[in-house]
């Protein structure tokens, strides 16, 4: 049975010491659930998310096999 792959970038990766992790999908329905299961916290506006490399919201559904990423506000250019 496949799992959910979670990735963190930049300051969030350093803060939570998570680069990539596989999560069992039980009890996880949304992006916010993924974040809470890893950090024990609610998402704030300083935490952005993507599902399968598309921007997502806390309420975006997550299914097994998905890649969910968390990152801080972007600062490119």
């Amino acid at each position: 049975m496949s799992s959910i792959r979670v990735r963190m970038f930049a300051s969030l990766r350093e803060r939570w010491q998570i680069d990539q992790v596989e999560l069992k999908p039980e009890g996880i329905a949304t992006v916010a659930d993924v974040w809470r299961s890893l950090t024990g916290e609610a998402m704030t506006d300083q935490v952005l998310a993507a599902v399968n490399m598309e921007y997502a919201r806390p309420e975006t559904p997550v299914r097994e096999g998905d890649e969910v990423a968390f990152f801080p506000p972007v600062t490119g250019g």
Binding site: A10, S11, E54, F71, P72, P73, V74, T75, G76, G77
Partner: protein, 148 residues
Amino acid sequence: MAVKLVHGSFDPWRWLLDHQETRLSPGSYGATASFVGTMRDFNEGDRVEELFLEHYPGMTERELEKIVAEARDQWRFLDALIVHRVGEIRPGEPIVLVAVWSAHRGPAFDACRWIMEALKHRAPFWKKERRDGGTRWVARNTDGYDGY
């Protein structure tokens, strides 16, 4: 349309010219607008010695391609090129190039500006600065229109 991420120093003007010579036919375009972002040696009052630019391989390219596609929905232009650095960057080195070719100047100017602002707001890149006292992540980008 082309989106490229490059490791190591790059010459934006050579990229622009190479793209123009290989992808556009002479006489087809009457306007070329370009923006080049270059690394400063100061930020928020501190001297910055080096930047590290992190990205999300796969999503970054996709988001840049989406930005170009959305610009095409809004303006009629012939071609666009985005080149963006990743990895270590030193002061004085270019970070980003956006170039747009169109028949007339309006779409080239407008799409170039819009693409650059969208990149700043949406493309997954994160800057970490190295200064005297260590390193820090840049918290947010400056407002592109603060001089207006």
